[in-house]
Symmetry: C2
Subunit: 426 residues, 2 copies
Amino acid sequence: MSSIITVETADVRFPTSVNLDGSDAMNPDPDYSAAYLRLVTDAGDEGHGFVFTIGRGNDVQLAGVRAVAQLLVGESVEPLLADLGATWRRFVYDSQLRWLGPEKGVIHMAIGAVITALWDLRAKREGKPLWDLLAGLSPEELVSLVDFRYLSDALTETEALDILRRAEPGRQERRQWLLEHGYPAYTTTPGWLGYDDAKLLRLCHEAVAEGFAHIKLKVGGNRADDIRRLRLAREAVGPDVTIAVDANQRWDVAEAIDWMSELAPFDIAWIEEPTSPDDVLGHATIARALHPMPVATGEHLANRVLTKQLLQARGASVLQIDATRVAGVNENIANLLLAAKFGTPVCPHAGGVGLCEAVQHLAFFDLIAVSGSVEGRRIEFVDHLHEHFVTPVEVHSGRYWAPLAPGAGTEMHPDSIRRHTVPGAP
Amino acid sequence: MSSIITVETADVRFPTSVNLDGSDAMNPDPDYSAAYLRLVTDAGDEGHGFVFTIGRGNDVQLAGVRAVAQLLVGESVEPLLADLGATWRRFVYDSQLRWLGPEKGVIHMAIGAVITALWDLRAKREGKPLWDLLAGLSPEELVSLVDFRYLSDALTETEALDILRRAEPGRQERRQWLLEHGYPAYTTTPGWLGYDDAKLLRLCHEAVAEGFAHIKLKVGGNRADDIRRLRLAREAVGPDVTIAVDANQRWDVAEAIDWMSELAPFDIAWIEEPTSPDDVLGHATIARALHPMPVATGEHLANRVLTKQLLQARGASVLQIDATRVAGVNENIANLLLAAKFGTPVCPHAGGVGLCEAVQHLAFFDLIAVSGSVEGRRIEFVDHLHEHFVTPVEVHSGRYWAPLAPGAGTEMHPDSIRRHTVPGAP
């Protein structure tokens, strides 16, 4: 038996706003940041996790991570890792912490960082990358990780078991296929709102040259600009590359419908985050009005209850899970199962700090053990800040290539942490 | 012109779990707490605000309050107070802090504490209690306080203006009526789940003797216990006192319908929080199935977008706003306007630390200037911790009596703060 003896946290911030990397209609000047956590055991091994934020407030997020992680100091590791479903419930249903959400915002994301750090530790102990660890668990073990409270009107434990059992036979073949063919990626690098037309064009050409079959542009700042940028991008990438657009929650319902109806002639692969992520009914109205243009959302869905409703209401036909918005790996397994139940493809949100490194594991697991498919599925890719991670993503030829290194992909280089930590924030 | 020169915060906690005060099906052992804020100006006056929490995590909430309040140090007070709508938008749309929600959880509640502290300061400067200040503003000033983003498919600024203008004529008469007759209250004091039958009975008799026409019991722990307690309570209070029940988010949709169908014979005034506060569609299903039993919720609705949907979907027929769950006074004005639009009575949630003191102002304002009615409306009352406030609520004869002291009711005694502050939490 081993124990968790140290919980170290760091307020890591990168000054990305200088170049307007990551700029969009609602987030004009992000400084990509991580509220970072390292758990150390007396056996000498470690688990790493983090919450991605965009600058100010990273210290608040870190206070949340500390409040949750401190509950683990001195605890035996093996029982925590052997029943990560119970560990998840212990944090999410903490009778006092729960008030701060419930199940949303700072405290929920903090639980996510801690849960993911525990998964990182477990994957390293088992000598497997997280995707391979998850894809090797039995359907019974997988459902034990999921909290079905509030889900049962859309997905029962029995239905989840059925989904996982149906996908069991082909696991080995799909694992092999993934290792040989990689997983489709798409790039948002060309499309940040703060980039000028010349940079947009150059990056579009580069994206095609690098083998991407799908790109995404930010929209919602100015309608004439959107039309001009879409026309330029379409000319640059040609007719065979699909183009999605992302409004980052900019609009009300009627405005979203009106604005996107005008952009429809550009053959939009999906309109992402047209309005508030909390507005399930609004998304449903927009999706009906814009049909057959797909609506995508998910990176800001606070928890599995929002995901459930979005799918029930047919508010989105593409679900974009995020690695650090919800309460970690377990809740994203719930999200993947909900998507499978409703037949909705999952195209994970990534970018930021380490989101690509973390979320790829969930997509690979989904392919092997849940949905069993890559059809209509792509992982977002943004080529920023990967060098700070011990296992940076490998993306080339327009595809993610599955890592073989043990862990959840969430470990940063100690030197990167040291150089970018803000002391005594904010 | 004056400036904000000091921002002081305190981690205030009361050991209420010792007596199981406030115990319910999801919160068995709360330690009622406040993440407390005091703004001081160089003119020597002050504004006070807080977020209510239930113990662990109060330090995380306080980190959020500090992050927001620090943005005000050195700022001129008069422009902030003269356009509190702009001040609200400045915080809620802070391009980096917003990521921590968006508009939910710790960061959103923190904004609420700061906004409310500014309202407290403004009310004190104008020499009025907050309810009287708000009820004296013109319809145009009131709508300028509300952010209609994400609301316009249910409530436009024009519709809000119409609602407020329709209520203008009778303002003076209703103000006088309020001062003479008070505002209906109901009590949750008898019904905490941790109290034994003898204590329940004694407190039911006391409630009737004190003039309450409505009480509330916690349910959802054990069905046989609920039935026994409801029977005892009904016998104690007689047929003329209405009894509501509160499940504190305990159930899934089907379980809520099943459980409450069994309790229906007890003439339930409303079933409160039957399931996740995020589950708008679930509430709508429950409300349809249990009709005509009213469904109530609201104290955990994270923001006005959730309120909007709940009312659109007819998921609740009683809306229970909370003084510190959303981003302060401004967002609760939005909630009151939404309720007025949908014809839904507002019965504010209170109790905790200072929630009664704070939320009464919003109910009085609603009566005078928004809905213009007390029909079907009551403010929750729990007789705990009022002695710590400079202007404790005055509740007798089953009614709240409107305070005349200037301010928002959010100021605690310095001595109470000092005696109950946790240093260097936790």
